[in-house]
Symmetry: D2
């Protein structure tokens, strides 16, 4: 398997000029595209339609270009929120069979998957954990990845919109929350625990319904989950290194213990080895205790700006200052993704020859 990642700037959620150029120049062969992971410039919260706008734009583009059958297998994972210096962009993942005689060695491979749609009452539940775990495991195996070599699992998961909540309550269903913004947290939480279960980081038996979105001792060191109003199922992208890879790229990861953990970012960079940094992928959250490094932060009681927005600005700035590039992927809300207040950070580099 030969995987490439193309980082393409966007001037707006519907800007495909960079992508078109990459295709025109043959840098990207459209029939090899398997996933697009983007940062779009909405608020990253409930009423962020930049994600759907980008997805619709890409979907139409690829359907026209390669036909519906091929296009339908492409995963679109749009994470909203480019607060601070974060720069809107797309990461286009391509995957093709390598010629038999291609040199192989430890390098990037990927697996993809989709869960079934979730009912509103399943959002944030053990049923969601289980279904996510099932698909993650399947995608990992399809990629030929061991658990130890799995470095990042990106998931786009659903949320509960107002009308969905209303309809569910009218039917007498019990929901984890009736707050649209909170529903994002529950969805990310269950998805992350699904990854943790799939990778053996947390034993399924130990997780109770009450743990989801509450017991921060349970977490995955490689899960990155992002909720959106634009889907009802989960889209899943598993990344890791395989000895059988024909890619020029390599991925590594570390776990930030808090939002200012520059050392973890440097660890991930070191582990990736020398080579051009293609992108850094990280999760961010406001420490739920209201403290960071022993100091009070105000993110959790700021009623003007949601804390996930500020968390992205913080972690984005820290990483960007280290790699001297603000075009990095930082997603907000890291429930069960790294320890409370922290989050996984992965680095994709081009292997130097």
């Amino acid at each position: 398997m030969k995987v490439h990642v193309h980082k393409i700037p966007q001037t707006a959620p519907d800007d495909l000029s960079g992508l078109k150029q990459a295709i025109a120049s043959s840098a990207i062969r459209p029939d090899t595209v398997v996933a697009v992971l983007g940062k779009t410039e909405g608020n990253g919260c409930v009423n962020d339609f930049t994600r759907g706008f980008a997805t619709q734009t890409l979907d139409l583009f690829f359907k026209n270009l390669v036909g519906p059958a091929l296009a339908e297998r492409i995963l679109y994972i749009m994470s909203g929120g480019t607060e601070g210096v974060l720069s809107p962009h797309l990461n286009v993942f391509t995957c093709e069979a390598a010629p038999d005689n291609a040199p192989r060695g430890p390098g990037l491979v990927l697996g993809v998957g989709r869960t079934r749609d979730f009912a509103p009452e399943e959002l944030g539940s053990l049923a969601m954990v289980d279904e996510v775990a099932r698909v993650v495991e399947s995608a990992r195996k399809a990629a030929g990845l061991t658990v130890a070599d799995t470095h990042f699992v990106q998931i786009k998961c659903p949320l509960l919109a107002s009308d969905v909540i209303r309809a569910a309550l009218a039917e007498g269903k019990t929901l984890k929350t009736t707050d649209t913004y909170k529903s994002m947290a529950y969805s990310r939480a269950a998805s992350a625990l699904g990854v943790a279960v799939a990778l053996g980081e947390v034993s399924r038996e130990t997780i109770t319904e009450e743990d989801i979105g509450r017991n921060w001792a349970l977490f995955s060191g490689v899960a990155s989950t992002s909720a959106g109003i634009e889907l009802q199922h989960c889209e899943i992208l598993v990344l890791g290194n395989s000895p059988d890879s024909a890619s020029d790229l390599r991925i590594s990861h570390s776990v930030m213990q808090h939002g200012l953990d520059a050392a973890a970012v440097r660890d991930a960079l070191s582990a990736a080895g020398t080579g051009e940094v293609i992108n850094v992928l990280a999760k961010a959250e406001a420490d739920p205790t209201g403290l960071i490094l022993g100091r009070r932060h105000t993110m959790l009681q700021d009623s003007d700006i949601n804390h996930t927005r500020m968390a992205r600005a913080v972690v984005g700035a820290v990483i960007a200052s280290i790699v001297s590039d603000p075009m990095v992927y930082v997603s907000g809300g890291a429930e069960h993704q790294g320890p409370a207040g922290g989050g996984p950070v992965a680095v994709i580099v081009r292997k130097s020859l």
Copy 2:
């Protein structure tokens, strides 16, 4: 002159528990307090009343404690906005005569000053530049500081509130702007150019009315100006090192070329020499070109969150990740304070023995 700086956390703009404890423990002698420089947790923009709330609270406290005469000389400079990890706190500057036999050597000294009140039509004008320059120079000299040894000039300056604008327009006056948020930028701009003139960084002759708030080639490398609704004049605090200082502290500075300029922060730290970091003081702004390190940022077209707020979150995170302390002083809106998109950064350390 023996100057101390006490960094005191606040749990709210009216929280004096830390200050009271410092006084109770004799760490601070209240009659030696000359200035309080604070970060309060408002939006840092026009309708930020946390600054006034903190100022009123401090003013009452000191008036009761040391009497109105002594209290009135204290400068209160509250900078709103603790976005991201920034942690609300007060920096209490004390200043006392050192005994004749006290050891002296290069160390922190300070000068203070107040301008006259500015009329609405003067805000952002050359008249404001001149008056600020006059008071900065006078404060610098009173502190016994050379221009070269002046490392940070902090100014609290006024803004135009809606009712002030309405009254001024009714009288037929011409204002630089009728937008309350923009008026903050003009006030910071003229104040910063006042510092630049006072320190010879920019020649007064070269500045035209049109340059103010527009010609970013003109700037000071040590000015830090912050606007607020709670005053009509400027409060000015000049910081530097004097060979004749009896303080345990030392200050140094550098100029961040952009919001991610970690190297400049490290330069300022190196220049300060080894020793416990008391605080880092910096200015932040969204690069007015809409680009940072060649990448597009979205801060200037985000109509939900003002760009000064995001700029503080970014620079605050970068500095906090370097010094491992989010309780640093970062103020937003750096017009003529460092180059466009950048800003001065100063470090105060306790000299190691």
Copy 3:
């Protein structure tokens, strides 16, 4: 009892110019002030310090003017949020004994009370309901009011700040919520049910812990509760008409069934009878179903602006357009205050002769 209400514009939370003028002109005798009910221009949510700023300013003013003993009995109830056309102002309630020969007739009287401080785990609980009910009943009786003649019960209640939540969790306490903004809703909810119990609108026996903040079938038609970071107890003001009143004023009320219920506002005005309208007092909330008059509203999934802010803007505009005065008192978040999506509305008029 002779009660007056003085509506005084403010240019900022610490603006006392109008109040001072009213005292200077003898319109207000400071020793007769028993309560100040204000609308301040913060966000009305967790980090709204305009309420505390106004309270501190008033408290200092009255302590200096009438001495601590008299001043301490004054209730300060500041409701944040003047979204849309709402205009910041204070309602100063004075109360004095009427001369024996003063004409008496149905007119405004008031009662005041304070609960004990609530522990974090009590916020939003039946214990809070009970304590509020106790104090409301006691204040009503002290005012000489029948239940039927009680037209408005205004309560300022506490919220859970981040540090309070952290400390409580560290002690192993169970809280209704760990979300600061949500804690405001729980506090308003329990306080409102306290009123409903005190006035016999809801039977105490029927209320379970789970009903609080959830079962909207239970509500008071006269409760108006507003949460703030500036206190740990509840301040309570009971308003109604007594046949024994010597006041020139009269109060009446109605219940808005939804935020656009102009008919209810007109009913309350009609019931008050002819006479100059002193103020209209109302509660506002975004309909929790996400629908209003059968149409979808977006307030509950707007992650940029909290729904309580928008609800105030809406109800404020409706009432202001009816009375042609935007200086009305509208408070956001109407849990158990009127039916879901609606809220009580009261009118105070000067009786025409």
Copy 4:
């Protein structure tokens, strides 16, 4: 000419379920659609991509349905911002030739037009005024409308995005403003004056460059202009009554003198005559003096929420409370559209038989 207006709720910017249903039921014949005027649920400011998302969705839909040639003539005018109770919806305007024997009488007709693209330096200029005036006049005449019978002119106009500003400045161009949010005001202002000129409300000779966005004495009583990031030209829709109309609908208008001017709304309703109200179309703005009905409002110094957002919430609530329907069209920022602080309001009713 036979014109219909179909008001169709949307659950999201890309929700076409209602439109599809109307077509399926033959209520709408797709080849007769000439314009879609929508309220989408973004912030209505610079970074509102809900407008573009809705436009892209509609454009694709109609291109597939009726072919590119027919589809290209459809105007898409999306106005962002459904603050408060405003309910997202589309107004689909259809227009067809009436049979020769169809009954005719005073009723709704429409004209449409598009200007050329504007260069960045033209935005907010007299050149823009002139081009808009030219196209408005041409559209009015094509509709067979007299000036007196023209009741509403809706324009979608461009704004200056950050990258456009940067490029223009790099080329040495002079712009009216370098602030993206302000650029919306300039664009709306010039477009509105274009309408005023076209309809003889303001004499072209009297307008100077400096008047645009400043001299509020100049205004149109029927212009409604809305800026967006999704176009570089203006889309123009002229509505009025013609004696030769075969429509069942009639339009009338009035001018709100301020945001609470319920009387003007009632005047417009009366003028429209009895009949089912199809929709109310209105402009809203925060009074630039900072006062409304003599009371201070805080919209212009609220740095957390842009004033156009609050203005929409206010006028939307006032109108919705009168017509008992929150699904009305209210657009924010009324520069030269009605007097300062006010704006035009039009009503479309179905003529009762």
